[in-house]
Amino acid sequence: MKNIFYQIFHSQKFVAGFSILMIILLILFIYPLIFPGDPLQMIGLSSFSKPGIYVSVYDAIDSEPSTMKLPDADVKRLMKKLSNEDRLAMKEWLVATGTPEDVIDILDTDGLLKLWKDSYDPSLKPEGMTLAKRNYYKRLNASLEKAFDYSRIIIATKDEETGELNEEKTVSSNDYININDVANVVYLPLGTDNFGADVAKKLVSAAKTSIMIGLIAGSIATFIGLTFGLLAGYVGGIVDDFIMFITNLFTVIPGFILLILISYGIDQDKRGAAVVALVIGVTSWTWTARSVRSQVLSLRNRDHVNLSKLSGHGLARIILTDILPYIASYVVMALILQISTAILAEAQLSMLGLGPKTTERPTLGLMMNWAMLYSAHTHGYWWAYFPVLLFIALISFSLNLMNTGLDQVFNPTLRD
């Protein structure tokens, strides 16, 4: 027994899969401790906010600033202002007005601005340039000039009665505040989704639910498959015929269609995570039953089973002590694969809108479903679906890797 564990934990594939799974599980347990809160709470009133740290502007004004003079502050400010399109347009103007092309580096903000200041003249009319285009350059120039204007910004309150503005505070370009002094800072490592909920929190909660669904469905499928396989293989005869008839029936109907039909038949209100797990478990046991049966068929005529019979052991005892321990490794592998399949099946079902009801707890499939419904993929809101995809892929990959590793340990002919 000790030897088997030694071998398992020296199989590179198993250890790799196990490590990935453990890291994911660790994240799932630690993240809610660091960032507690309801994962479904809609914190954003606008949907699909970008990932990042959000600082309350209102609170930031209230905080006491410290003055700092940073050398590249202005350049950074301009860099934020100048979009890539603007830079290309500026280059176009410079080339049109006779600046050699190889001098211009559009990524060098400082140099570009210097060239711009030297050569821009609103009265110039480069050949072939439309009025609209020239006006665009006027606007661009104006906004750039505004950016170089380092006057203070005044914050004022409005007198309700007279409508007079009373200066409260001024903010200079050299004012900095410590983020710790701001009362309200929100960390959104993965932004918000279409509901305005924190994607990271939701993802962690969803992954937990999906793994639970996988565990429940996988255990149910393995249990049913194991029981049927053992009975069909060991008892044989009419019991075998009957069980194999049912198994074949379930096998020839494509499992996923069966899954869709059953899920469709259950009311949305009654379709909780547990019910979906049950449905997946009840429809995916067939190949476990078939493979366990074939393993038992090869075991039932072994001498140790015969000896057990001669020692007067009954059916239950022979199955439990003489057959089950011999196929235990196989069953563990089947269980791991079933869990992985069940997680994928849940994601598929939820993508079609047949998953668990949406109001209670998120699942990975549901997150994908909502991201798809709100066209996150066409708008480039990658944070709403890519981390979910990655989680599904990693969980499934790690489980499959563990399965392959175990396969190599228990089946020496597969070792490389």
Binding site: D303, H304, N306, L307, S311
Partner: protein
């Protein structure tokens, strides 16, 4: 079936028209084909044949591990009835076996104590006090030159092949069946252990007076240990009679061939002490 043997007691196990067919239709294989036999109480019988001659299938049918397709096996003069679990258990307290491959005969997940305790339980010793059970197990182990104290809490696969086969005999010692089917008990172990194991089986027989049915391909062994010999070929019994009769005056070509295959060393090997 008539027999011209004189020394035997009442019939213990017999069969009439015993047949085993595997598969059906074009894939039908007749493993044992209408076989008649009479095994007498206290006798040592050898069933000799090549591989594939159906001797192991016959042994399995005699043990009740495989169903009989056609014909009837009689136990102590009455048609054998092993349809219920209780009757099967009762039959197996009287008819036991030693298998060919000691390495695959034991469940690798249960301890040696469990194997031996099962035998005591089967003999009706379930309610014996713990120390009485240990005494019985120690006795059985010392009969086969094993030390029970060294075996407790060990697993069968920790023993050598010869030791495992001896443990198998210890099982038989505890069970004290009326009939023992030994399916090539010595073919998987080395020559030294072979003699020891045959020796132990003969001693056990002397003590209990049980019938031993040797299933073997080794006609030399059959000649030295058995009272009567059955030669099987392609599922049929082609020759039978007392050991001297069959082996010293072989009638069929097949028997002659089996005899010529015996290594000469057996002629010097003296089993007369047994």
């Amino acid at each position: 079936m008539s027999s011209n043997k004189t020394h035997h007691g009442p019939v213990c196990l017999s069969g009439r028209g015993v047949t085993k067919v595997y598969g059906f239709g074009s894939r039908k294989t007749v493993a044992v084909d209408h076989v008649d036999f009479d095994f007498y109480e206290g006798e040592i019988v050898s069933i000799v044949g090549e591989s594939g001659s159906g001797k192991t299938t016959l042994a399995k049918m005699l043990l009740g591990l495989t169903s009989v397709t056609e014909g009837q096996i009689y136990y102590q003069g009455k048609p054998r009835d092993i349809r219920t679990r209780k009757k099967k258990k009762e039959y197996w307290t009287n008819v036991q076996a030693i298998f060919q491959d000691p390495f695959s005969s034991f469940n690798v997940f249960s301890k040696i104590d469990t194997v031996l305790l099962d035998c005591i339980n089967m003999r009706g010793g379930r309610h014996l006090p713990r120390d009485k059970k240990i005494e019985l197990m120690t006795e059985a182990c010392s009969f086969v030159n094993l030390k029970f104290e060294e075996l407790t809490n060990k697993y069968p696969f920790e023993l050598s092949g010869g030791q495992m086969q001896r443990l198998m005999i210890a099982r038989i010692f505890l069970l004290k069946p009326k009939v023992l089917l030994a399916d090539e008990p010595t073919s998987m172990i080395d020559a030294c252990s072979r003699a020891t194991i045959l020796d132990m089986l003969m001693n056990l027989r002397k003590e209990t007076g049980m019938t031993i049915i040797f299933i073997t391909h080794d006609i030399g062994l059959a000649y030295y240990v058995s009272d009567s010999v059955y030669i099987m070929e392609q599922g049929k019994i082609v020759e039978y009679g007392s050991a001297d009769e069959v082996i010293l005056n072989p009638k069929t070509y097949n028997t002659k061939r089996l005899i010529s295959d015996v290594p000469k060393i057996y002629e010097v090997w003296d089993l007369s002490t047994v």
